[in-house]
Amino acid sequence: MDSNLLGTTLYLMKLSIKKQFAYPLMFISCLFLIPMMVASGVLLLYALATHFSSVSGWTFDQLALLYGFGYLSHGLLMVFGAQNIWMDQLVIKGEFDRMLLRPLPVIIQYACSNINLIGFIDVIIGAGILTASSWRLKLSWNAGLVLLLLLTLAGATWIRLALYLIVCSTAFWTKRSSSLFWLMTDLMERATQLPLSIYPQRFQLVLTVLLPLAMISYQPVKQLLNQPGTWLAGLVFLATPVIGLIILYLAVKFFNFGLKQYESAGS
């Protein structure tokens, strides 16, 4: 049975990717749009760099490294988590009925319903920025560090996915999740594209403990820049995927809880 589940999941993903090719115009316009949005972020960093010596102790190249690393997990979020935007539409139109009729867990059907290849544009751009700034900073990489950071990247994506899933699952009760979605987007951008040290202590605390946004890019990159070889660094790198898995587990539980509510309220 498990191999059937895996096979079906993969097939679902393949189909959702195929769907995208029906809309080539969208891909092309995003090919223009996304670099421009990134450009405005990078432009800000550049403006800061040419007129101020550092921002909260972070130089331009360090800021760019942070930006790039954050953008990588943002891109992966776009690939795997885009369907969260319309969660409230799915609830209102009763689309979950279809998923409830199939012999597959609803969360899997939901997760595979919209694999968004366009997110890979973000990933490539993020990787480019990361590579360029890491070269300028003359960071030394070894296989172990790369593997560790890939794991951290995965964890960062899990944290993002989980937070969005929790926030959008409120649509099961309220049937309106878009405002929360955009609020989460704003918070996430501000917490992952810039060093958290610019914010007052109490905000930093909230963003590390309550909503672990600090673990997405700020803390790992801070360790990367300071002393990537130490035990502390390793701990921080591993903390992100661990937190990611825990919060993803909680998010799925919450989603299923919301689904029960959907089942009792009807559509």
């Binding site: 995208q20 809309y23 115009l25 969208m26 891909f27 316009s29 995003c30 223009f32 749009l33 996304i34 421009m36 949005m37 450009a39 405005s40 972020g41 432009l43 800000l44 550049y46 403006a47 800061l48 040419t50 007129h51 101020f52 010596s53 550092s54 921002v55 909260s56 776009m78 885009a82 935007i85 319309w86 919209n114 968004n116 366009i118 309220t174 309106r176 878009s178 405002s179 929360l180 955009w182 609020l183 987007t185 704003d186 918070l187 501000r190 810039l194 040290s197 610019i198 914010y199 007052p200």
Partner: protein, 286 residues
Amino acid sequence: MCCCPKAWKRFPDPVKMPACSTAGSAYLHLVKAQLLTALTYKTDFILAILGNVAVMLASIYLWQAAYRSQLLTTGVDLDSMITYVVMVALMNACYSGTIEFTLQHRITQGDVVIDLIRPIHLLGSYLAVDLGLTVSAFLSRVLPMLAVALIFFPFKPPASLIHGGLFLASALMGYLILWLCAALIALICLWHIQLGHLGAVKDGFILLLSGRIVPAWLMPDFLRPIMDLLPFQHIYQTPLSFYIGQINLAQASLILARQALWTLALLALVQWVWFSGKKQLLALGG
């Protein structure tokens, strides 16, 4: 079908057109309708304000952190920068427009033919709707944001009374320029309905070149001429330059005239596109 979430943020619910007959009451009705719709979704409202405040705070903290380090080149002092950033956030909170989505939506649904028969000027009615949204956003979002800015941060008033007046005039024209650009994009779908994401591309340009993220005096040199060539800088940069007193009164009239010229040019362009598109639409039978 989505791909870029940011592109979709600009689209609120489509506007329902009322069945009124006299022009004046129709416009007023539209403005009122927008106010009421906005007020009924209490939670959405609070969340949107929270989002606006969070974004504003993030900008303020960023520049505060930047100014703490040694300046390499002076542009403007910290308090003026904070004022600039707060004003950008306030203006951004009000400048919500539905014209693009509404027009696209109604064209693909075929409803626009009904609108063409009405006695009131269609674009004017859409402007009234968006003005209503802006007024309601001003009343509901700007005031709390302004309160936060005034209480916790060194937010400055306009450089002088005259500068304040110039700012208002310039901001009004800037709003029209933004609206006309949106209307232009929307009208292009009278001919090519599938170019839905052109609006998002336009937004990308505005983000880069209007002074919203990076003010003109901090822009790299190679981008300055491009900024001057396009009308987008008149949306945020020009009015705010008046506000913080960067423009002296001697240059003021020249700059205002340039902004006015852009506004009129865009107005003419939009009218032309509208009328030729309308002819085509009526010829095709909707």
